[in-house]
Point group: C2
Chain length 342, copies 2
């Protein structure tokens, strides 16, 4: 055995344990700092308190309401809950932008409704085309192409399109307080999902960057798809046939299909989220249901019971009857979009 200098060994050992301690602290620092202080854009109001109380109750070991980390499933509606939805769902604005972009390849659209109405900006004719017209627009701009082709169109749109009244990129119109809430939940061991009436593949290209939510945690309305060989390559082709309408009573079905267990926290903003909130709170143990209430006409939009987009009527009654958390955007959010001066 070689001679080893005892003092040098001791010094190296101290250095090594010190290095280990530093790494340990670095590893633990992030979770330890997530105690609610990170909900920086939330005023100290009833909603923030309810959220923090709930998260403490289900995460503190020894709490009577403790929930193991792998069962901490949190689901969020998207339109009006994580980003804005006025003057109409952004996905409909995408479809109309796409009709304009693709029009040169579709001369027949000049004389066919509802495409004609979009190209001529004839809102009366567009409204007259109704739900069927909307579905025609969505199918024409979302299907008969591969998943990859559609993702490219969505990416081009999120990078270039601007909102008609704010002039902002659509993915800048996400709510900062809700993004903080997603971060806060994940830091507390929750798995965060989107459960939206929007189409799944319309959201997947940008939800990781916008919300930290990966493709496999996006549940939405979907089209039937099929494996095909296109130009010698395997492709998933999107067919113009609805697979699941992930809205209203379809949301618990979408949750069961893709997640396979009941969430313990759900957030929505409209009657389309009612069944998701009911489904979540009907499970055993402590549960959290939240509604974003659009009360801020100055910084965003103010609407609820009478709105044609994002109507909040029955779900607001249910929230009040059952003590769900209703977030008053105007009073409870210091800041709505990242770009605002706080």
């Amino acid at each position: 055995m070689r001679h080893i200098d005892e003092r040098g060994l001791m010094q190296r050992w101290i250095a090594w344990t010190w290095l280990c301690a530093v790494f340990l602290l670095a590893g633990c620092a992030a979770p330890q700092s997530r105690t609610g202080a990170d909900l920086a854009s939330w005023n100290d109001g009833p909603s923030r308190a309810a959220i923090v109380d709930f998260v403490k109750a289900v995460t503190q070991p020894g709490s009577p309401d403790f929930v193991p980390a792998d069962e901490r499933i949190a689901v969020f509606d998207n339109d009006g809950t994580l980003w804005s939805e006025q003057p109409m769902y952004f996905e409909v604005l995408f479809a109309m932008d796409e009709v304009r972009a693709q029009a040169p390849s579709h001369p027949e659209w000049k004389t066919t409704q509802p495409f004609k109405a979009v190209l001529e900006k004839d809102n009366a004719a567009l409204a007259k085309s109704g739900h069927q017209g909307l579905m025609t627009l969505i199918a024409a701009t979302h299907t008969d192409m591969t998943v990859d082709q559609f993702a490219q169109r969505v990416n081009r749109w999120t990078q270039t399109a601007r909102h008609p009244t704010t002039g902002m990129a659509y993915t800048s119109m996400t709510y900062l307080p809700m993004r903080e809430l997603l971060d806060y939940l994940r830091a507390n061991g929750f798995k965060t999902y989107i459960v939206s009436g929007g189409e799944t593949e319309f959201m997947r290209p940008w939800t990781q960057a916008a919300y930290g939510i990966p493709p496999e945690q996006v549940v939405g309305t979907s089209f039937v798809a099929e494996l095909q060989t296109v130009d010698g390559e395997l492709q998933i082709m999107r067919l113009p046939k609805i697979d699941l309408v992930d809205d209203g009573p379809g949301k618990p079905v979408g949750i069961q299909r893709q997640i396979g267990r009941r969430p313990i926290l759900a957030f929505g903003n409209s009657d389309g989220d009612l069944q998701m909130l009911e489904w979540t709170t009907a499970g055993p143990g402590k549960r959290f249901a939240g509604l974003v209430h659009h009360t801020d006409a100055r910084r965003e939009w103010a609407y609820d019971r009478q709105s044609s987009v994002g109507r909040l009527d029955k779900a607001l009654d249910a929230a009040r009857a059952q003590g769900w958390t209703v977030v008053d955007m105007e009073k409870e959010w210091k800041q709505i979009y990242q770009s605002e001066k706080p």
Copy 2:
């Protein structure tokens, strides 16, 4: 300021850093030891080497084939890949056991095919009922009940039923080397999924315990479901209508629907997995495709091109043509089931 004994402080500091180091080592020990040595039931053969080489290539920072952790999606067929599938798919054996268990409530089954054949153990009549008969059996035992009711039946069956020839519980007939492979991949940052022709809700009640795979990472064949109020409670009702056949060309569709990105590793054992393996390997960058080849008539079953269950024919040709990994169970697995003496 109080007087502090310098030597005592030093000792406490050393004790503290030592404690930190111990915690650090405890936290890091599991991942650090996962370098392939954990594939303890795999002989040092070509398959083990190919797996370890692939995992090293995609996980080592600086490797030209490095893949970020969140894109390390690994998909596994279930029947014949993670557990046995002879003399027929275990889910079919479950359906037959269920017909016998539920027969007292269905007197009409005594005179109606294919139920009559099951109750009389008339295999010739059962075979004669063909694919349609099988679908009738599956629908009658899987649907027209809530997701919770079905899960209870599956749980009772996995706890009490025994395989007709081995006498083992079905969930004991999982392959130890594949369970080690799942652990090894997860320890290396992979997210592991089941992508099976089996029905999703038939698998979800037991995949966490059997494989460490949670409900949200189970992709399978599915029935249409619907939210209903049953006895005053919201329930997800399973309807007797197929939603997705997650087999053959349906597997890449199921992967896109539930995961939304292309796997970098796929494992199967039959022609039903061919498109999943092709879809996986057709993506850019380094990919891994593996097939479990049932070559061990003594410890399990030996079958491939002529088998009516789990036929491995076209996929075996594709594997040989494209250099996919074909696992020779007899030669490459030291042990098949946990219960065997190694």
